[in-house]
């Protein structure tokens, strides 16, 4: 899960870089350098390098908890799909989570569902971002 977004940074198509560090950038930097469960300070406040979904997966690994998180992830992915921003691998993660539940591997199921839910949430954020900013890359 943690590697997925670094890929976009690798594709340096960008002629202009925003200089001031935003919270998002600070998060990405700290996450990349220290991984999860790290705390950093940004503009005087403390933040965690964990994604909310990672915390959601930190519950007792029971069938009930795994199924509940899977359902949330499915619902979130539906939302992403409805705005046209479903990611390529998300359905596979959901399927694997489902299979893990059947096999009684609840922690693995929780982790997979969390990952899928994260994909979906970021897809939805991308859509919102694009709605506001897509025109920034149109040549004038």
């Amino acid at each position: 899960m943690k590697k997925t977004l670094l890929l976009s940074a690798a594709i340096l198509l960008t002629p202009t870089w925003v200089m001031a560090e935003t919270l998002k950038e600070a998060f990405e930097t700290h996450r990349a350098m220290y991984g999860k469960d790290h705390t950093f300070t940004w503009q005087g406040k403390e933040y965690s390098t964990n994604h909310p979904e990672e915390l959601e997966a930190r519950v007792e690994p029971t069938q009930g908890n795994a199924t509940a998180l899977l359902e949330l992830a499915k619902a979130e992915n539906k939302k992403a799909a409805s705005v046209g921003y479903e990611w390529k691998l998300t359905r596979g993660l959901l399927k694997n989570a489902e299979a893990a539940i059947k096999e009684g591997e609840y922690q693995r199921a929780l982790n997979l569902a969390a990952q899928a839910k994260y994909h979906a949430r970021i897809g939805i954020e991308q859509h919102a971002y694009a709605e506001k900013n897509w025109q920034l890359s149109v040549p004038q």
Binding site: L12, N50, G84, E86, W87, Q126, A130, P139
Partner: protein, 288 residues
């Protein structure tokens, strides 16, 4: 207390090239100006590839990458799509069970009309593509529709493009129906929006990334993108339609792609083909 903030796109979002200065320039139905868009896109490439003639953009990546051009020219000496065009002609003229042929469904009996597609259909309130009308023709005459991506539909489309070679693209956005301009704008927005796990837009690869090696590939300029479809791709080992390519490229951002001939892909084709107005039909083409 720890404040846990939801964070995400981060770096990826910064990778937008910031071209725009004025807000609201061309991104709303009130301000969008397809002709200005077309000129701006041409100017973008003129600056980027000063040695490439405008007319040459119909040759995709080969218009800007001399190294692969030689290979391609050799390939074109024995065009890999030749047989498919012949087969397309046969299919085009083969009567349906009711005795009619495709010619009965199209203007000018379907000959030399590729440059007019896609077009805005006011009655149906949607963008019509050539492939779509090929299938509608079949259904109207009691035949089953063909699959969208390859096979017969690509061959028939290839033959129809072949009969239209050197005709100039002339896509119109009728002013008497604001929905046409809205469809164009949707297509434009799709092209420039970043998406998928890699947070990439079509423009990231085909404008900022044109002729820049991305993994093993060199993305072509977007100008002239549609002119040579359907295309014989060596990677496919066969002919494929534009929407097959759209699906593949959409997936390249690690998105789940849309369906071929979906509203959004047809709007995208409308936008992209308008951008190529003034260039000639040179389909079918051959690509790596």
């Amino acid at each position: 207390m720890k404040i846990i903030k939801t964070l995400s796109l981060g770096v990826g979002l910064m990778a937008v090239a910031q071209f725009t200065t004025a807000a609201g320039a061309g991104n709303t139905i009130e301000t969008v100006d397809p002709e200005a868009d077309r000129m701006a896109l041409q100017n973008f490439y003129k600056k980027r590839f000063p040695d490439t003639e405008l007319d040459d953009y119909v040759n995709g990546i080969y218009s800007v990458d001399a190294a692969s051009r030689a290979q391609w020219e050799e390939l074109e000496e024995f065009p890999p799509y030749e047989f498919a065009v012949e087969e397309g002609e046969r299919l085009f003229n083969e009567p349906f069970a009711n005795g009619k042929t495709y010619a009965s469904c199209f203007a000018n009996d379907g000959v030399g009309i590729r440059q007019n597609y896609p077009y805005w259909n006011k009655q149906e309130g949607t963008v019509k593509t050539l492939e779509m009308e090929i299938n509608e023709c079949r259904e109207k005459n009691g035949e089953k529709p063909l699959k969208w991506g390859k096979g017969e539909i690509a061959r028939i489309s290839a033959y129809m493009a072949w009969t239209s070679r050197d005709n100039v693209f002339d896509i119109k956005i009728p002013e008497d129906d604001p929905r046409a301009l809205a469809a164009y704008l949707e297509g434009k927005k799709f092209f420039y929006s970043k998406r998928g796990q890699l947070n990439l837009s079509c423009a990231n690869c085909h404008l900022q990334g044109s002729n820049v090696r991305i993994r093993a590939d060199l993305p072509s300029p977007a100008l002239g993108h549609v002119s040579h479809f359907p295309v014989f791709r060596s990677k496919w080992g066969e002919l494929g339609t534009l929407h097959r390519r759209y699906k593949g490229c959409h997936k390249d951002s690690r998105s789940k792609p849309q369906e071929m001939q979906s509203d959004i892909y047809r709007n995208l084709e409308y936008f992209q083909t308008y951008m190529s107005n003034g260039l000639v039909v040179n389909g079918p083409g051959a690509r790596k």
